[in-house]
């Protein structure tokens, strides 16, 4: 058989095979990587409590309640996150500091130690003091603070702007 025709068949086969593969790969990859181009984070603003209900030195946890969209399902209001409020002593600037309970390490929900003297994450024992500072080397950064607002009342209402941050990173990077 003549060799130029053989070359045509050979090169043509590679081209057609390649075209079919690429034609399928493009939509396939776009479909698979769809989550990357979606916005995930949003800030949830919620009233949590009256300031008077908080005691200095005693962190108190509050659930963030919101409607939630999970892929195709629209869930009615339900707990979507947990916040720790720590009331600060008089004259220390902010009256109350809010931490998200999501551990900056790998994202488990932070609780209190048995003696209630520190925060601890149940997954890898990352510990934090009530200023959110690391007490051991497990977490890459301090606990993530959330923006807090107080109403102008005599007994102000604590309003928290809840959002989520990337775990495993030394910097606090909001998830968007």
């Amino acid at each position: 058989m003549n060799s130029s025709r053989r070359d045509f068949h050979r090169i043509g086969s590679f081209l057609l095979g390649g075209a079919v593969s690429v034609g399928l790969a493009i939509p396939g990859v776009a479909f698979l990587l769809d989550p990357i181009r979606r916005k995930s984070g949003k800030v949830i603003t919620q009233e949590l409590t009256r300031l008077s209900a908080l005691t200095v030195g005693e962190p108190k946890s509050f659930a963030i309640i919101a409607e939630r969209r999970d892929a195709w399902v629209q869930y009615p209001k339900e707990p979507v996150g947990l916040v720790w409020l720590v009331r600060q002593p008089e004259g220390s600037g902010a009256a109350v500091v809010a931490y998200t309970a999501e551990c900056p390490h790998i994202g488990c929900q932070i609780g209190l130690t048995d003696d209630a003297k520190a925060f601890v994450c149940p997954c890898h024992r990352a510990e934090f003091d009530f200023q959110g500072k690391k007490k051991n080397a497990v977490s890459p950064r301090a606990m993530d603070t959330l923006d807090v607002e107080l109403t102008k009342d005599d007994d102000p209402t604590v309003i928290v702007h809840f959002q989520r941050y990337r775990t495993q990173s030394p910097e606090k990077v909001p998830l968007v």
């Binding site: 068949h9 086969s13 075209a19 493009i26 939509p27 195709w72 399902v73 629209q74």
Partner: protein, 597 residues
Amino acid sequence: MSDTTPQENAPEGVVGWLEKRGGLHTLFRAALDRPVPSVARFRYALGAALVSSLIIEIVTGLLLMTIYSPSVEAAWASAFHIDQVLSMGWFLRGLHNYAAHAMVIVAAMHLASVVVAGVYRAPREMNWWLGLGLLGILIAFTLTGNALVWDQDGYWAWNVETGIAGGAPVIGPYIHRVVLGGTELGNATLTRLYALHVGLLPLVVLLLLRGHVVLARKHALSRRAAEWGVEPAWPRQVFLNLVFTTVFLGTISWMVVANHGVSLEAPADPASQYPARPAWFFLWLFELRKSFPGPREIIATMVIPGALASVMFLLPFIDRVLPRKVAHFFACAFAFGVLGGAGYLSVRSLQADGADSHYREALIEAEHARERAFALASRGVPPGGAAILLERDPLFHGRKVFEQKCQGCHPFEKRRIGEGSMAAPELKGFGTKEWVRALLENPDEPSFFGGIKRCDPLLAGMANWKKGTGKNLSAEELDQLSAFVASFAEIPPDTPVPVWENSDLVQNDPGYALWADQCASCHLWGEADEANFGPSLYAWGSRAWFRRMLLSPDAPDLYGAVKSACRMPAFAGQLTENDIDTMYRFLRGDYQGNEGP
């Protein structure tokens, strides 16, 4: 141990390393160097196109599996999510579906070409059977895949298909129960469908295909093809295969794009009348069934298909009883006879449906349901699943209940459906100021009490008021009175009458004095007065009043005084709370898509 690869072809480098350990190079070369007739033909590309399509099915199938969720609550919604939300999801689901159906066509062509070439005969019987088995699996793939999305079409088609299987003698009912995972279609049906579609069927198809290809290579070329001369498949036949495959897949992709994917009907609704039709390749059996009514139906569903399949299966043996040429003629005549007959019946079925106005109306209704479900699902599906979308929708369900139960007597937008016994008041705008204003303007209109007042003189009460004291009210006073009456709908549930009546809101309403003067002598709050009949209008237009009116219109403070033949029938026991709620919200215009300006 000696190297099995001939020395002159021994590959080097990475390929050589792999060859020594896995023999991949030898396998690959065996495929490329397999002998094919030196008159390379597109006819031989049919098998290759089927293998390529199978690869497409596996790739797109795996991608769809990353989202699809096999449960009654999630199946439709996840398919909707794939089609409407995810990048290229509509294309991949469309390709998965179209390629599968195109494979049925190509497989039929492949089969026909095998019959024409006569290569089903000895010693290739085994491969003929494997091919028939593969065609069967292919059909099983399309049927299970169609049902997986759990839309109206998939649900009802599967209901019919499994129902037919359940009609088989003796073992039918057992098969039916095992396939459905119970006696009705439900969660277990879907998980079984899923296990079949992504587990068992792929495993079987790969095994059969492996055998099919191995046997095809083993038997190599027919005597006739060998006479034409032989050459390796690579590169000429491979090139032709790829040209065919590219055109084939290109055409399918174009169809997917042109139709913007494959259709997704409204979510499965077991309580609906959906005009289910079988897959296109079974349409001829659907038509055939019409000729065998009643107990003879089994002839169309079992006997004829079974006989055809048996003849196909036994085709290689006809050579033994008939002369070779006659047997081949019979085989060809049979294959094309079946194809032609099936084609004829399919066309007849399509024509019958096209001429059937009930079928066309049912399709239009199904399309309305689909559109409404899509509009609702675009805001997310409730955790209870997609079926709830339409069931809880005032515009879809509430309207349907209203049409079935009420619109015979009560016109909506001046239209009544069917022949109700009475001409009751129009209910478009029920509870609004506009409705009340129009009533007060002319209660004798046929769309208010003009139609039913002849039945019982009590129902002429409003008309008599209008002829009496009512005629003296100015347009402004009528406006004020209408606004006041329309405000009854906003009375919170369970508010005691005095609490509401003594509130500033009521006391300061200019309509209140007019009410006391003009209406209160007949329309008492929650009491009956035989002498001056008028139903209690306390909280009129609210859900509670509406519910009570539906369930017990004969209550003394409602229409108890009216002759029962002239009164609205009580619907207690005939309506669910959801029926009442969605109907109320429909009449009040409280539904998605009607948020107002």
